[in-house]
């Protein structure tokens, strides 16, 4: 497809391309690129022994979209993330990342795909023996990036999560919330266009959980990152589906509620129960759903 666009460019009578034509062509390429889902599951089936974990699951996460996956424990939410990363392989069906079918990729080929993806683990999963700096710099060190380029990048990421002061600390010295934020900084190093959050707010106090959600919103609205946000906490859903991040006139990031001025369309909700998708759509539709399990989940009793 991109090839045909470049054909149009070279077919101009004088061999040159007007700036408008070039701009529109690049927009077309960009639009085509955006039409390819960042993540796609097609009839994915996964079972451990006789227990079906994911039952022919199909869904897409478009570019710049946040897919909030809700559901109770053991519903298969975290398994989805492991499949995207290739840490598990499906028994049937296909998994696509950025249009690439990764279903049958071996560990070596998956390493290349994983470079496009950032992953935030439930407990942070920081390397105990490394300092905050070395944890965040881990991916760059592995890639052999020179130290003079690593440090500013690490500091930039730690500033993003408001933890630059903790740069020399060891993971054991950090609180739970700080560990998650370092985990986010580590996931974001190298600017991945896909970020996976595996219950990043579980067990955190409300203000810290809010901070984590704000980071996810900043990624979605300011960095055009596609993400999967696995959670079972309704507060997260409220933040992510009703607020958005903008840069105000003073250059500071602020969070505004959707309303008449703007309606969020880049956050979608998917609810899972025992390996099946029982709801997929917007949060407004979710709240109106009549399914007894969804109502019980929303009410909390």
């Amino acid at each position: 497809m991109a090839g045909s666009n470049f054909q149009t460019l070279t077919n101009q009578p004088d061999g040159r391309v007007s700036s408008n034509a070039a701009e529109s062509t690049f927009h077309e390429i960009d639009d085509l690129d955006r039409a390819i889902p960042a993540i796609e599951f097609r009839d994915v089936l996964l079972a451990f022994d006789d227990r079906i974990i994911l039952n022919k699951l199909s869904f897409k996460v478009m570019k710049g979209e946040t897919k909030i996956i809700l559901g109770g424990s053991g519903g298969g939410k975290s398994t989805i993330i492991k499949l995207v990363l290739g840490l598990l392989k499906p028994d049937a069906g296909q998994v696509f990342v950025d249009g690439e079918d990764i279903t049958d990729y071996n560990e070596v080929r998956m390493m290349r795909v994983r470079k496009k993806i950032g992953m935030v683990f439930q407990e942070g999963a920081l390397f105990d023996s490394l300092s905050v700096y070395d944890n965040v710099a881990y991916r760059l060190h592995e890639q052999g990036v020179p130290e003079e380029e690593v440090e500013p990048e690490v500091r930039r990421m730690l500033r993003f999560v408001n933890l630059e002061d903790a740069i020399d600390k060891m993971p054991a010295e950090l609180s739970g919330g700080m560990r998650r934020r370092v985990g986010i900084a580590r996931a974001l190093i190298g600017d991945p266009k896909i970020v996976l959050f595996d219950e990043p707010t579980a067990g955190l106090d409300p203000p810290t959980a809010r901070t984590i959600c704000e980071l996810a919103m900043k990624l979605r609205d300011l960095e055009d990152v596609s993400s999967i946000f696995v959670t079972h906490e309704m507060n997260n859903l409220d933040y992510l589906c009703s607020e958005y991040a903008v840069v105000n006139e003073e250059g500071r990031v602020v969070f505004e509620r959707e309303g008449e001025r703007l309606c969020l369309i880049n956050s979608k909700v998917m609810m899972m129960l025992q390996g099946n998708i029982i709801f997929s759509g917007t949060d407004e539709r979710l709240r109106k759903a009549e399914d007894p399990y969804i109502q019980k989940f929303l009410r909390g009793h």
């Binding site: 990363l85 994983r114 992953m119 683990f121 407990e123 920081l126």
Partner: protein, 238 residues
């Protein structure tokens, strides 16, 4: 797993600092227990064999018996068992803890192959340090035997030393070096495999650590039997 770890050595990035750190932890860290084990094993060999040899008037051969027993068998096997207890358990527990705290998943998610980053440096460190530790155990074992023979049984130092010289052949030294290499592979592979296949949280870490030590110890002893016979056949030693 061991094959993947070794094949990974040919590719970048190479984990030289990790390998050196592991050599320090495994080799230097095990030095004290290996010296003590070797010394007292040599001593007890003299205590047990001298009276029997004296019965046959062959007490001058004590050094011969101590040296050959240590270099061929006790040095490599005891050294491997001590390293299994100290290092095999540590490797299994460390990797197991990393599994249950999702650090291994994080490593893979960040584009690093845990086999190359964690298994290969430990295997290489074991392959280099276990033969060296065995040599040290042998030396201190003979030294322990010599001290005991002179101190307790008034054997002449020159008689003991010349019996040691007569006893050890090049084949014994080759055999004594081949065994620790094989044992290092066994200890490293079993410990890493048990650690990386940990399931069930902190209880699982304990289980995999115990399994690693028990399995590695048994496999070392079984492998020793077959290696001893194979080396006899290959080297044509009596």
């Amino acid at each position: 797993m061991a094959a993947r770890a070794v094949s990974g050595l040919l590719k970048r990035p190479r984990y030289l600092p990790e390998t050196i750190a592991q050599m320090d932890a495994i080799g230097v860290g095990s030095l004290t227990i290996i010296i003590l084990t070797g010394f007292f094993t040599g001593g007890v060999l003299t205590v047990q064999t001298f009276p029997t040899l004296k019965t046959y008037g062959a007490q001058s051969q004590t050094g011969y018996l101590v040296a050959i027993s240590l270099v061929r068998e006790l040095g490599p096997v005891l050294c491997a068992l001590m390293v299994t207890g100290r290092v095999g358990s540590a490797i299994s527990a460390e990797l197991g803890s990393m599994v249950v705290s999702q650090q291994i998943d994080a490593m893979r998610a960040l584009g690093t192959d845990p086999i190359r980053k964690l298994v290969a440096p430990r295997l290489i460190a074991l392959l280099i340090t276990l033969p060296l530790l065995t040599v040290i155990a042998d030396m201190f074992g003979i030294c322990g035997g010599w001290v005991t023979a002179i101190g307790l049984y008034s054997v002449s130092s020159s008689v003991f030393v010349s019996a040691v010289r007569d006893g050890i052949t090049t084949d014994d030294l080759i055999g004594g070096m081949v065994k620790p290499i094989v044992f290092a592979l066994i200890i490293g592979s079993v410990a890493c495999h048990q650690g990386l296949s940990t399931e069930g949280g902190t209880v699982g870490v304990g289980r995999s650590t115990t399994r690693a030590v028990v399995m590695a110890s048994i496999v070392v002893i079984i492998a020793d039997y077959f290696l001893a016979k194979a080396l006899q056949v290959i080297l044509g030693s009596p």
